[in-house]
Each structure stands twice: as structure tokens, then as C-alpha cells.
Amino acid sequence: MLPTELLSHRQNGEEIIPKRLKIDDKNQALATELINCFQAAMGKTQGVLERQLLDLEGDATDYRVKRGLAYIIKSNFCTFEVVSPLEPPMLRERVFTLAARSVPSKESTQVTLTQVADQLSQELEREVLLEQVRDGLYADLTENKILTDFNAPTPVDILNRYNLSQVQGIFYKASQLILNAHRNVPGEYKLLFRYLKLFQLMAYIEGDADHGFTITVDGPTSLFNPSTRYGLAIAKLIPALLHVTKWSLSATLQTRDVYTNTWKTGRFTLNSECGLVSHYSKGKPYDSMLEASFADKWDALKTDWTLEREVDLLPIPGSVMIPDFRLVHPDGRSFLLEIVGYWRPEYLQKKFSQVRRSGCDNLILAISERLNLEKAGVKLNNVPARIVWFKDKLLPKAVLTVID
């Protein structure tokens, strides 16, 4: 993501349009130029690199684009390290302690550095040069760190990252996000909800599987007044959302008018046709080997029931439950299937409490016989679901018997 000062957007009436670079020859050439600049700076200091980037900016007016691209390369593909034969903090302590005994001047600086170099040569029993002491003194400053590794991306990678970052930047000012998740396969909702949880966001979910869901995202304190406190977390959610097949969103933005010093409310919309490219990994398609083997076996089976993966969100107060599979019959019947494998007691308690609260009447729970539910404090008598027990592997036939 980009810092605020490198964000650019224009406004068309109420609509905010973040700057996006076309993936064309001109921009690819620009990205290539920057990549080459980094490549050439391998083994050199960050200070040297920064000066070369500044030269590249020249006095042209597109410096913010160049700076933004360079920022993305620097923060995602580069490693800078302290390179010095002597520990900088140790050098500083020795040099400054010795220097404090005489009046500071350029002449006494030479004398002090020579003395420290001599002392170190004796102690370490190898020759330490005055220049090594002088250069090592601040080798750990950011500008003196050495570019030791550059994992060169392609020009297209960088342009994609830049465009995504510009769009994410719009959300820094978001107080709320309303997401319409349409029904689709495969949904990858799990990834989205994992990130919701990770970023401490709240989601209020309405809707059903056939019409899609409306997910309102904000934070606990948003109830009392609109706050952009969760904006950054919302921005980080966007790359996860890009993995979901079909969606549209509308964000409420709070912007401060610098002239009147008042807050204004704006809106920003985006949908799955936006053409942005996510750099988050897709997440594992299956949560466990158990699920993977079950899905494989189902495909080999001859039945009218089709197996959909992670398609339904079961809204429950303050959260959502995403069953592992949905079984759909051409005649319109459908069931949800949740496989309960090997888990800690707390997880099980939560899971069964979720099931109870969901009020869902077409749920199948496949439970491993190895689980000691009684010990975990889980009672099955008031669970509104059909239950299939299994030992090591869950067989599709066992599931079919409870629904047919």
C-alpha cells in the first residue's frame, strides 16, 4: 500500500476516481526504467539509490507516479542490510567517548579516528583503517544500509500493485463498507472472513444463499460516530475480496474540507469487474485432507446431487458461519454439509453453539467418532441437524443415505 502523500485521485462530481496506470508500453517502459535503477543499485547504499531515483524524477511533473512505483518496489521486493566489518554502536561509543576529551574540531576528528583505529588494530590483531572506523560509524543508518537483495518483479507486476495500492488508498478514509456478495462458485468467502477477523473488523450479514448476501463492514465503535479508524483494515481487506468471484461494494468516505474544516461524506464503489489483481495468495482450496478426499470421491459418484464448495454464509449474530459444502439437487432441494474433524473442545463448543443459533433446518453435520464430545461439554440432543458419524474417512454414500 502507498502512504497518503503518494496517493492520487481525481473527482468527477461526487465520484472519486483513483489514479490507475494503463498496462501499456509507455508505463511498462517506465517501470522497467525503475527496475533497472534498483538492479544497478545492488550492493550500493540506500542513500545512493535514493539520489539516483531523485535524478530519475528530474524536473518532470510525473514525479509522484515514479515515487509511488519506486515505493512499491522498495517495500516489497528489496532487502537492505547493515554492512560493516565493525559494529556501528560499538564504534560510536568508543569514538565519542574519546572525542569528548578534546575540543571538537575537524583536526581533532582526524586524531581521534586514528587513535580508535590503532586501538582496534591492537585488540583485534588485524589492521583496522581509519576509513573503516569513519565509514562504519553510521553504517546502520537507513541511508547507509546496503541493498543486498533485489527480487526483481516484472513491470506488469509493479503496475498491478500500483493500481491496487491506489484503490486501497481510497479506503483509508472509509468509515463503512457495504459489500454485496453474489451467489457464485467457488466463492472463497472463507479467505475474506479470515481477514475480517484478522483485521478486527465487524461484519453484519443479511441475505441468503440464493439471492446473495449484504455484508456491512465496520468496527465496534462505528455505532457511535463514523470513524476512519478501521479504514486501513478495510483497505487491507480489498486484495482478499478480489479472490471472491462476484461482488460489488460501496464505501462511505469521510473527508475533511481544508477550507471550511468540516467533515464531508462521500462514496466510492467498486465491483468484481474492476480488473485489479490481488497479490494475496488464494488460500487453500480445502481446509483439510478430509474435505479434499471427500470431494474427490463425490466427483466419482453417480448422483444427481452436485457438490458446491464454501458457497453459503450462515448469518448468526455478530458473525457468520461458512459450512464446508452445499449439496444441490436439480429439483430444488439443498443441504449444507459441515465436516467436524479433529478440534479443541472450545472450538467444538463454539461450533455447536453456532449451529444452534443458526436456526438452519437443512444442515448435515458429519462428526468424527474419534471426538469425545461429551468430554468437550457438547450435547447433541438439541442440535437442529442431521448427523452422520464417520471413523477415518467420510464416504459420500453415508451422506446420501441421510438426505435421500
Partner: protein
């Protein structure tokens, strides 16, 4: 059977469920559809609990995770009268409120007294890493048996007593909110920003103490301190404490001429900039003008060139070689007195540090190392320190007797805070502190300094600001002649001692002129800023200095 109402903490808010009987709690609660429960802002915890208790409503409090701690002090001193009075006033106000005391009036010890009298888990928030370490060192010494930890600068402790920076505390506000019974906000004027205020808002802490020498903010948000911490419960000005805790000081301004080459380049650059500004009809005298200049520099090549010229000119004015020569000269003159050098930018800090082998402190200095450097400076192993903005606020270096400001920034608060560093009396009797301000002659920087000191023009000696009435203009003429420096230095000193004191006086033009005497000696400028009109400062934004 109805379940018992339970109060829980959720990321900066409280949830009260199931709803209790009575109705006092309804004033605080809002129905939250998202969880189908009542939610309450964390900051209202104390009022809510008091309201429930008043109605004798039974509820379970699962929100609070703060607890009593044993705070046996090993460090006890006879408090100054103002410290005892401030503590009493704060307790009387229900342990919620702001205490305003000038720099060096012993706010840390007051805080320690507040902690002893409220022995519960405590969070202390401070603006800088240096202050964080200073507090840490003090609390470790004061309460050797207590668990003291740090949040910020790489540390992430969760201890009964926690010292945190405003930034880190704001980032972790959602999880810190219910762990501390007492929150102490050091330099509490930092709290009412959009980013920082959540530390107070997301916390249930029933006890809150704000400390500041200058709570007033130019944006007027200090009014929010009433809600976030509590009302102002005690205030003392520097004059009230003068001679007891503060040292006398003297301010000397030194003007440095640019070298022939620098001067030519400077004029050329300013010409480039000004030509563009004139053509574009931009005046840099206002915030809008500066914003326009920034916008134009992103749109046209000529604008971009003008901006680059502006920057380079500023760099020349800030970093002229002449300043380094003056610096070496001043260091030689005062050797081995303890000297602090301030510059506006890190590049100059490191250039001085490397050329003259003086220990440096900037935001890049590792936390542990800056602690060591400050300790060695205090103990006398180092006698000089060069720093950028990091030492501006509240860092306790009483050993320093000389401060040299190499380049100004036009920020009044900063200027005063810097002064405060050398104004500390420490253990030295009759300490006379000296503050040098080294500015490049006839550059825009000089005008900033003049403006800061309340003059209309650099050359306008003793020219009193009309409206506010800085007073004392009559004494300007009596100032002694220029102090000559030996050697080949191109130095033009300020207008001597008497005049220099006035320079500090003129910081606050609205200050009452009735008490002329006390303004000249023992003057604590830090307190003055509280008297000055925010409007005036807004007339002199620092936009041209960026």
C-alpha cells in the same frame, strides 16, 4: 429464569447484556443491530457503573481487567507545595482532570504521587521515545517491586504499570482499554488529535490525569480534554514558581553571512522561485498560497523547477558552512560545558556528528542507544549532544547549560520547548543558561526567526507588534552594541544581552505587561505560550518553511 446483566469489553466499547432493570443505564447505551445487544462507549464506563450502582441494579462486571497493585515507593521526596496542592485538587475532582505546570516543575513526581494514592494498574502515555525511557527509568527507581513495562520503540509489554508512546497506545487502544484503572497523559495536548484521542475514548479507566505545560492547541481542540480526561483542576505559572525550580537564562542571536558562492546561488534560486510565483500570482504569505504552490509544482514543469529551487535555497540557508564554523567556535568557547545542539533536519545532525564526532540523537537512534547517550551526557562522559526534533519535549537533561539552535522552524512551541531544556536548574546553584540561535543573514529563514520572535521584519529592531502590545519596546534602544568575535568569522551578533532577553519576551505578545520585571529574569517562556492568542499564531503559519 432471567440471566444476570453482564458488562463486557469489546474492542473499545462495552456490551451490556441482557438489559438490566431500571433505566439509568439507558442514557449511555445504544442498540447495536449487528450483535443484537446494547453497546456503550468505553469512556462512559465510570458514569454507567455509578448509575447502575445508584439504582441498586445487580450486574456482573466482566469488562474491567484492572486490579489493585502494591506501590511501595523507594523514592520519596518532600513535595513542593505546588505538587501537594495539585494532587489534592486532582483527588477532590474525583481523580479526573488536567494539571498545568511549567516545564521543570516536577510533573513526573506529581504523577508518582498520584499513582501511590491510586494504587491500581496504570498506563502512562508520552509523546516521544526519550520521554518513554525517562519515565521508565523513574518508575523503575520509584517502585522497584512493581512490574513496569514499555509499549513502543520495539517493546510490547503488558505489565501492571505500562509506559507507552501516544502512537503505540493509539494503535493498541482496542486491547489496552480495559486493563488500566489510571491513565496518565503526559504532555496531554497531544491527546486531542483524530488519531490519538482513541486512547482516552476506548478506555474504561475511571481515573485520569493529564499533565502539560501548554495544554492549549492552535486548533482549539484542547476543549476536548474536558471530556477525554477531565476539567483543568490546577494551574501554576512559571512566575509563581520562579527562582525555585527554574534557572535564569540569556538568549543570544548570531547571524551568519552566506559565503560569496552560496549567496550567488541563493539569490539565483530565490529569483527562479519568485519569478514563477509572480507569474502565477501566488503569494506565500498564507496557507492557501503554499498549497497552490505545491499543486502547481505537480502540474507544470516551471512550477516543479520553482519548488526545487525553493528547496535548494532553504537547504543553503539551513546548512551554510558558516554555521558549522560558528558552531565549532562556540563549542571551543564553552568547552567543557554541557552543550546541546539542535538542528531542523537529520542530515545536518549526522553531518555534524561525523565531522566533529559528537554523539547524535534522532528518531533513527535505537531506543537503547539514545538512553545510553542521554545517561552519559548527564553523567558527564559526553559533554556535547546534537539532536533533531526528538529532544524537543520534556526530556530531562538538567546538566546542559548551553543550547545552540542551528536552524529554526518557525514553530513557537518547539522553540519554547527547546528553551525549557536549558532552563532546567538541576542541582547547580545559580545556573546561568545560554541559548544561541544561529540564523543565516538575509534569507527567508531569518524572517521566520524574526516572525517567531514577534517582529514584523528582521531589521525592525524593537519594532513592537501593534495590536497585542508586546510592550518593552522602549527598552530596545538601550541594548548594547554588537559583540565582536575575533578571527575571520563573518559573524554579526544579535543586539546584546538586554535585547536578547526581549527576544524571548516577544514570543508572547498578548502577555500582560504589568509585571515587566519578572519578564526579564526568571522568565519561563513555556508558561507564556498559554497566554498568547492562538489567533496570532495562526496569522503566521509555518507554510513557507516547509
Amino acid at each position: 429464569m432471567a440471566r444476570t446483566p453482564t458488562l463486557t469489553f469489546d474492542r473499545g466499547t462495552l456490551i451490556l447484556h441482557p438489559p438490566p432493570r431500571g433505566k439509568a443505564w439507558m442514557d449511555y447505551a445504544t442498540w447495536d443491530d449487528r450483535v443484537e445487544k446494547f453497546r456503550i462507549p468505553a469512556i462512559r464506563y465510570r458514569s454507567l457503573v455509578e448509575a447502575l450502582q445508584a439504582e441498586d441494579v445487580y450486574f456482573i462486571d466482566e469488562a474491567k481487567e484492572f486490579y489493585p497493585v502494591d506501590l511501595v515507593p523507594s523514592l520519596e521526596m518532600e513535595p513542593y507545595p505546588h505538587q501537594s496542592e495539585a494532587l489534592a485538587a486532582w483527588k477532590l475532582a474525583g481523580r479526573q482532570g488536567v494539571v498545568v505546570l511549567p516545564t521543570a516543575a516536577g510533573k513526573t513526581y506529581l504523577a508518582q504521587m498520584a499513582m501511590q494514592s491510586t494504587p491500581r494498574t496504570t498506563l502512562i502515555v508520552v509523546p516521544t521515545l526519550d520521554l518513554m525511557h525517562q519515565w521508565y527509568a523513574h518508575l523503575e527507581a520509584a517502585f522497584p517491586d512493581a512490574e513496569v513495562g514499555l509499549l513502543g520503540g520495539g517493546s510490547r509489554d503488558r505489565t501492571a504499570i505500562l509506559v507507552a508512546t501516544y502512537d503505540s497506545a493509539a494503535i493498541h487502544a482496542e486491547t489496552l482499554g480495559n486493563l488500566y484503572a489510571l491513565i496518565i497523559f503526559d504532555e496531554c495536548h497531544h491527546l486531542p488529535t483524530d488519531f490519538g484521542r482513541v486512547i482516552a475514548e476506548y478506555a474504561i479507566a475511571p481515573y485520569r490525569l493529564g499533565l502539560s505545560a501548554t495544554p492549549e492547541r492552535t486548533d482549539g481542540k484542547h476543549a476536548d480534554l474536558n471530556i477525554l480526561i477531565g476539567p483543568e483542576v490546577y494551574r501554576k505559572r512559571a512566575e509563581d514558581l520562579a527562582g525555585k525550580a527554574l534557572a535564569e537564562h540569556e538568549i543570544i542571536q548570531i547571524k551568519v553571512k552566506l559565503s560569496q558562492l552560496e549567496r550567488e546561488r541563493y539569490n539565483e534560486l530565490i529569483q527562479t522561485r519568485n519569478d514563477f510565483l509572480r507569474q502565477s500570482k501566488i503569494s506565500l504569505g498564507s496557507i492557501q498560497g503554499w498549497q497552490m504552490f505545491v499543486q502547481m509544482s505537480a502540474r507544470s514543469q516551471a512550477g516543479r523547477r520553482a519548488m526545487l529551487a525553493h528547496r535548494e535555497a532553504k537547504e543553503i540557508a539551513l546548512g551554510t558552512d558558516g554555521k558549522l564554523r560558528i558552531l565549532a567556535d562556540l563549542l571551543a568557547e564553552h568547552f567543557p560545558a554541557r552543550i546541546l545542539i539542535f538542528t531542523a533536519d537529520n542530515a545536518t545532525v549526522y553531518s555534524i556528528s561525523q565531522q566533529l564526532l559528537i554523539p547524535a540523537i534522532t528518531h533513527q537512534t535505537p531506543v537503547k542507544e539514545r538512553h545510553e547517550i542521554l545517561t552519559k551526557f548527564r553523567e558527564g562522559e559526553y559533554n556535547t549532544l546534537v539532536a533533531s526534533h526528538v529532544l524537543n519535549e520534556g526530556v530531562d537533561v538538567p546538566a546542559a547549560s548551553v543550547a545552540i539552535i542551528l536552524s529554526g522552524t518557525g514553530s513557537t512551541r518547539e522553540y519554547i520547548q527547546r528553551l525549557g531544556r536549558v532552563l532546567r536548574k538541576g542541582n547547580i546553584e545559580n545556573k546561568q543558561a545560554i541559548l544561541y540561535e544561529v540564523v543565516a543573514e538575509d534569507t527567508s529563514e531569518e524572517r521566520t526567526s524574526a516572525r517567531r520572535r514577534g517582529e514584523k521584519r528582521a531589521g525592525g529592531a524593537g519594532e513592537a507588534e501593534g495590536a497585542g502590545g508586546a510592550g518593552d519596546a522602549g527598552e530596545a534602544g538601550e541594548a548594547g552594541g554588537e559583540r565582536k568575535k575575533p578571527g575571520n568569522l563573518q559573524v554579526v551578533y544579535g543586539r546584546g544581552k538586554g535585547r536578547s532577553d526581549k527576544a524571548a519576551e516577544q514570543l508572547e505578545i498578548n502577555y500582560s505587561t504589568q509585571n515587566k520585571k519578572s519578564q526579564i529574569k526568571n522568565s519561563d517562556v513555556t508558561d507564556r505560550v498559554t497566554e498568547s492568542s492562538p489567533k496570532r499564531r495562526r496569522n503566521h503559519p509555518k507554510e513557507t518553511e516547509d
